[in-house]
Subunit: 340 residues, 2 copies
């Protein structure tokens, strides 16, 4: 780090923004100054940080003059407007929204998978969708060893992926139901308590949701291989933290479950939990608060020649969002890739 | 119905047994007498039925002398022991356990799919596993039209599939968590509240669970086609009633999503709920208490030439167990296929 480094979290009061601050603190991120930015609505409020607190500042076009690195998690519209302003001011942006992910000029990065993509950035780097990040962390070692041809994924996604309001909605609906009251649904179109919603993000013309197509498109971009075919069904389940994924994989070369387990055990960011005899497998309640992507239920799929089934769980707010963003920032600093 | 018909529910006090009694009543099942049998532990207790109640009788080897038709849902061990005794006494058995399902001499029946298999029964008919029933109801019309080659299924299964104790366990764990108490796990090896467990039934040597292999093996037997390849990942979710399934289907002939929707709309026992623009898709909270198998999110899978994704939800206690058993009994009576 050649000089002082000021880091800002944009959208600091949201579920992901708060986790970003927590992770910057936990990992002793090499910032000389950390600032919290948010909309005018939150400006003036305070957030705990290290032994003190940060006063939230209003995000404006002038915010970025003294900021070297901004971690954005304030929604697509904010990113579309402010990320180019920040970059123009010499501030490098790592953006957690979907605004820039599929822009061919913008690197879309998971540090365990494609850190080299960072070298070509022009000021904005995109952080992938939560459900994509944990999937590619698990797919990468298998792809390197046996070339993945096709992926069929079904997700079990936690409400925290929709922010603080959704966490509160699940809690409130459960309380209402247990008190014989009619549960109110505001964040989701239907009740989520004790239910499954096969609907995340908006529906597209092809009958898939945006969330499903993110898993298809982002996977190809991050893995750097357009030949990987992906089909996804994304489902919200009544879990607070931790996304789970049932992933069926067809490879070009045969991998036994033992070989897949060995590859995954060596892979960066992966922890294999796969001992059925002892009832050990990944679960969202254990992944919550952890950094690793947990992989288990590794089995050969005998319905095709070269098939595997795996069960992948990670903390969607940490590896799926805040942690991956901070890890990207760490590579930028380590490799001296910041704009200024 | 040529003569008086006495019907017994064996295992009448369990979650499925109670639902069988409710369904016999709702459907005005043509029995002249209904009896409730259970273990000595429950004998003497009473269960509501029609305008009165049934006194639970102890199940013994002598129970079946005066019974024409017995609907069993008292676990595999009870079925293994008592179903042959009942059949020898001239009582036709429809068994909801897994004890007889894969016996080549025993028909395994979903009335919408393979009612003709009932013609060859020798006194015992097996009711399939809950997760299989709703899947084959949805697969059958697609198989008839386009021949299914391969199925990749991931399930989202309700706790009621594990009986009354599991329903109580989820309720209690949620209450404990909301009161800052440590949740107790007795029915399942881990907490189910706000969690997902990729583990139903015992693990087998091939690393799959019994539940997963039931979906593989029973599907082939019911569909009468060993060439259908199936791979399954079965997962318990914190839902009280209603199993959901994300099913990826590869067919021999191409089906557009529109064609699949038309076929499913005409299929017996199926109700299509598939209007994303209006947020209409199957959900467990709506399937609970209903008879139909609900199918939605019907999409072409563009990762293969002839692929479809569908989302299938049904009440696991009704269509997945009690209702299908009663429907089998109805066909036996209508077709005059009872032993006596």
């Amino acid at each position: 780090m050649p000089h002082d480094l000021t880091v800002a979290v944009v959208g600091a009061t949201g579920a992901v923004g708060r986790e970003m601050l927590k992770i910057l603190e936990e990992r002793e991120f090499p910032a000389t100054k950390v600032r919290a930015l948010a909309s005018s609505r939150s400006a003036g409020s305070s957030l705990p940080f290290q032994n003190g607190e940060l006063i939230v500042e209003e995000l404006t076009e002038a915010s970025f003059a003294d900021i070297d690195l901004a971690l954005f998690s304030a929604g697509g519209e904010t990113s579309k407007k402010f990320a180019p302003i920040a970059a123009k001011a010499g501030c490098t942006v790592v953006d957690n929204s979907s605004a820039w992910r599929m822009d061919p000029e913008i690197p879309l990065v998971v540090p365990e998978v494609n850190p080299e993509a960072l070298k070509t950035h022009k000021g904005i780097i995109a952080n992938p969708n939560c459900s994509t990040i944990q999937m590619v962390v698990a797919l990468k070692p298998l792809h390197d060893a046996a070339r993945i041809k096709r992926v069929v994924v079904s997700t079990y996604q936690a409400v925290s992926g929709s922010g603080n309001k959704a966490i509160e909605e699940l809690r409130k609906q459960v309380t209402q139901l247990f008190n014989m009251q009619e549960p109110e649904a505001k964040v989701y179109p239907h009740r989520i308590a004790f239910n499954c919603l096969p609907h995340l993000d908006a529906f597209l013309d092809n009958e898939y949701t945006k969330e499903e197509m993110k898993m298809v498109d982002e996977t190809k971009k991050i893995m750097g291989d357009d030949s990987i075919r992906v089909t996804a069904t994304t489902v919200r389940v009544p879990v607070f933290y931790g996304h789970s994924e049932s992933i069926n994989i067809e490879t070009d070369l045969k991998l036994t479950s033992r070989e897949a387990r060995a590859l995954l055990s060596q892979a960066p960011g992966v922890k294999v939990l796969d001992n059925p005899a002892e009832n050990i497998y990944p679960m969202p309640i254990n992944a919550a608060g952890e950094d690793e992507t947990f992989v288990g239920r590794i089995r050969e799929d005998e319905s095709i020649d070269n098939g595997l089934n795996v069960w992948v769980v990670a903390d969607n707010i940490r590896k799926g969002a805040a942690l991956n963003t901070v890890q990207i920032a760490e590579v930028l600093i380590r490799e001296n890739l910041l704009l200024s």
